[in-house]
Amino acid sequence: MKQLKPLILFQKRIVPPALLISIALGILLFREPWGIGLVFLVVAPVLHYYTYEIRSENEYVFYYNLGFSRLALWMATFGIGLVLTVLSFLL
């Protein structure tokens, strides 16, 4: 749980907007639940890149001090995307 809290805080700036965009685009483009997951798999890393690599790169240090590496934070973003995609295909 101690390791989860910083990840939740980090993902707060990615998951909610990525989910909204994915629902809108997924329904618009694919008209199927799996489309939402598929779009999320692309949108979440793009938002991650824009938010943390371009706009607020300094914020990485906050998470570094808590023991996370940049790679681990990126893997979390891709991991959530994969889980959501699998779930959307099961719906």
Partner: protein, 228 residues
């Protein structure tokens, strides 16, 4: 008591040597001041120790444990960069909960500057207030060693005094490497001083060497008297 050993740090950008076989040692309870002109490589040195910048050669260990990976380094060492790092959407109380993993220690509970900020989000605070919080987070974190890069930059004198107060409070349980251009204050709080010049880190025997080695100007020796 723990000891941080940093050795064989070498860094070059294209043809320019930034750091050349840098060695330093810091132990629990010690505040070590790292001085140097702008562009001398102080920030790069801290980033290499913290493993956010790669080096041609790097050896860092705490006691007998060699810190090779970033995760193991960050368990032992925390870092305050010269720029702000606090996420704008984080509530200050939550940030302390994450960094400290326990209730606020007495030194922070009695801090009149900090208490009104605890319920705020970073985005609602001024740059100076955010900086103050970042310094306290780093100082009171669970890591045994902290690297402070220009902690006094842009802060009001009263807040600077407050930071020195907190440095003194945490000092018995931590090793602190500090770099800042506020030479007077660094000399006042540091147990040992080092000067980074031409890629070499030299341990100073006394504060007067800051003048003889060209970090402080000779002409204003009278104004430097409070330092030396």
């Amino acid at each position: 008591m723990s000891v941080l050993h940093v050795d064989s740090i070498r860094k070059r950008y294209k043809d320019k040597i930034i750091l050349s076989d840098v060695y330093l040692k810091c132990q629990t309870g010690e505040i070590a001041g790292v001085m140097g002109r702008n562009g001398s490589g102080k920030s790069t040195l801290f980033k290499i120790i913290f493993k956010t910048v790669s080096a041609d050669s790097r050896f860092v260990k705490v006691d007998h444990k060699v810190l090779r990976g970033s995760a193991e380094t960050r368990k032992e060492i925390n870092y305050l960069p010269e720029y702000g790092f606090l996420p704008h959407h984080v509530r200050i109380r939550d940030a302390f909960e994450l960094y400290l993993g326990r209730a606020l220690p007495a030194g922070l509970k009695e801090d009149a500057f900090l208490l009104p900020l605890l319920q705020k989000k970073a985005v609602q605070m001024s740059v100076g207030e955010r900086r103050y919080v970042e310094i306290l987070l780093t100082l009171y974190s669970e890591a045994g060693f902290v690297l402070l890069d220009e902690p006094f930059k842009g802060l009001a004198p009263l807040i600077r005094d407050q930071i020195v107060h907190h440095l003194r409070l945490v000092q018995p349980g931590k090793g602190i490497l500090i770099s800042d251009h506020d030479a007077g204050r660094i000399c006042e709080i540091s147990d040992s001083l080092m000067l980074l010049k031409n890629g070499f880190l030299k341990k100073l025997r006394d504060r007067a060497e800051l003048i003889t080695l060209g970090y402080l100007p000779r002409e204003s020796k009278s104004t430097n008297q409070s330092i030396v």
